[in-house]
């Protein structure tokens, strides 16, 4: 009978660097395999990319009617060109933070039992799904880059100039973190299926709320006077914050704090995910596996 140590010795002595390399290789392989998988669905991708641009057109028409094309009018600090820019940037942020199918995928795998693959194999489910999602996004950006550039070019007259580089850096950092927050929130909602097998209505409520509370529907400045809690919830980082940073709505000296809060949310959500997963698996394995 071989012992655990023999298995290690197959790949040489166990050292920290070997362990790190092995883990990185696995992440890379998941990423690579998932990219290959995503490329299978060409038609689905092209279609979903096009669909994503439809709402922006209606939003621009709507706000041009509200502002009656009068660029001197402002609403909570937004004039018409800024409003158009806001929606374009929110669209970009949502391209990072939206996770179509993540919650339903996790919930489905718990309901149909395929989640046990992650319990039997020496893999971490969240890590696996994260790199899967990174692959999904990378392929999406490659395909959507052209249409995105076209829309930005068509609306170029409304866009403000390029901001100072620290603002741009903060914008990029915020965008990347919006990906992590979007992933972690949706994963957490999917994990609720360990307790309630049917979570589709919960996911629907989340979609509605996040559309509203993330600033995807209207800038949060218009909302916070009615619902002040939007300023302290993590949803704002899914859409509003990156756009607000780029438009200079957040003062430069406040940017580090804003980014720190965003990073803290990532850590908090990560901890919540880990707890939910470990408790969920415990519950799962005491209810039948």
């Amino acid at each position: 009978m071989t012992s655990a140590a023999d298995h290690r010795s197959v790949n040489g002595e166990w050292t920290l660097s070997n362990e790190v390399v092995a883990r990185l290789r696995l992440k890379w392989l998941i990423l690579r395999t998932a990219i290959e998988e995503r490329l299978v669905y060409r038609a689905d991708f092209a279609f979903s990319t096009l669909v994503r641009f439809l709402p922006i057109v209606t939003q621009i028409f709507l706000w041009s009617a509200i502002f009656q094309n009068d660029s001197s009018r402002t609403m909570k600090g937004y004039n018409f060109p800024q409003m158009v820019s806001y929606y374009l940037l929110v669209m970009l942020a949502r391209a990072f933070s939206s996770m179509p199918g993540l919650s339903t995928g996790i919930a489905g795998s718990i309901a149909d039992g395929s989640v046990r693959k992650y319990l039997i194999q020496p893999v971490d489910m969240l890590d696996h799904l994260f790199w899967h999602r990174v692959a999904h996004k990378l392929v999406y950006y490659c395909i959507a880059a052209g249409p995105f550039a076209l829309v930005f070019w068509l609306c170029r007259h409304h866009l403000p100039g390029w901001p100072a580089w620290p603002v741009t850096v903060a914008f990029v950092a915020s965008l990347l973190m919006s990906f992590a927050i979007g992933f972690l929130i949706e994963a957490l909602i999917g994990l609720i299926a360990f307790w309630f097998l049917e979570v589709s209505s919960l996911i629907f409520i989340y979609m509605m709320l996040s559309y509203f509370l993330s600033g995807h529907m209207i800038p949060l400045e218009l909302l916070s006077q009615w619902i002040p809690i939007v300023d302290v919830l993590p949803f704002r980082y899914l859409a509003y914050t990156p756009a607000a940073i780029m438009l200079g709505k957040i003062p430069a000296e406040q940017l580090p704090v804003e980014l720190m809060i965003q990073a803290t949310w990532i850590i908090a959500l990560l901890v919540m995910n880990r707890i939910a997963f470990s408790r969920g698996v415990k519950r799962y394995s005491s209810f039948g596996g």
């Binding site: 071989t2 197959v10 696995l26 020496p122």
Partner: protein, 344 residues
Amino acid sequence: MSAKSITIPGMAAIEVKELCREYRVFRKGEGLLASVRGLFHREHTIISAVRNISFTIEEGEMVAFLGPNGAGKTTTLKLLSGLVVPSSGTATVLGHIPWNREDAFRRRFSLVTGQKEQLWWDLPAQESFRLHKEIYRISSDDYQRRIDELTELLEVRQLMAQPVRQLSLGERMRMELIAALLHRPDVLFLDEPTIGLDVVSQRRVQEFLRHYQREQRITVILTSHYMKDVEALCSRAIVINKGTVIHDGPLAAIIDRFSRHKIIELQFSDNGFPEGLERFGRIVDTRPPRVRIQVEKQRVSECLATILSRHSVDDISVMERPLEDVIAELFSADDAARRQDVSV
């Protein structure tokens, strides 16, 4: 194929002691009113899926788990793979407690089910295998050698580049087996591996498993409803019914122990067979001048003597009943009372 590296003599691969697993199941009464009542107050019943089972499996053994649906076979496999935590009792697999799910344990076993869920559906199987190489940290040399070996044995080399969803059920199952064996597990749990396969695929999987197990000396537990699988692969069987072990021993002993009948095959001299044979037992097959009668064990010699004294018979043979029939009878509901009496 190389033999297993280090062995520790006398150490059991799998040890199960007084393992129990109970489930709480929601019980809903009949009708709309009961459904509405269920919104406020739910009644639960406790179901024992596995009751106090104990057994030991030595390294390199291939053991069949037999039992009707709901007997507790799959629950036992889930317990041994660490998917389910027991209500009480202990189990070790390769010295590990399965439900602790340590990586060191998970790298050393595989579970193959008829659900076939290890492969990426839209990609060729080789992509999934490459991912397994990293998950199980298989060195490139080992990986290449094992892929060559396994694809050759299972005759799927030319299918490696074809998306899994385009493979037939039998081909997919063979790919699943490769995925399960790439990291060369010491213990393999097979839960209905040939379910839904045609006879050719079934036989190919059977032959492969027999060959591979003998070469690698891995420990295997197999559950299957196909007695042909079981007879071809296992010499020992653990029979589970209603969550308890009712037999643990050689497969052949099941017939001795549980079958109350034997089959007498007679070939009569004239081109037909006499009337009234029913009084000896149930006639199971008639192909004149041959006839097969199922006779109670203790009446075999008496029946033979009577028949021979009255009729002219060319040929006689006395046979055991097919394992499949014995198992079917053993699990049938009307046999339940007798089973309680002989249970250990």
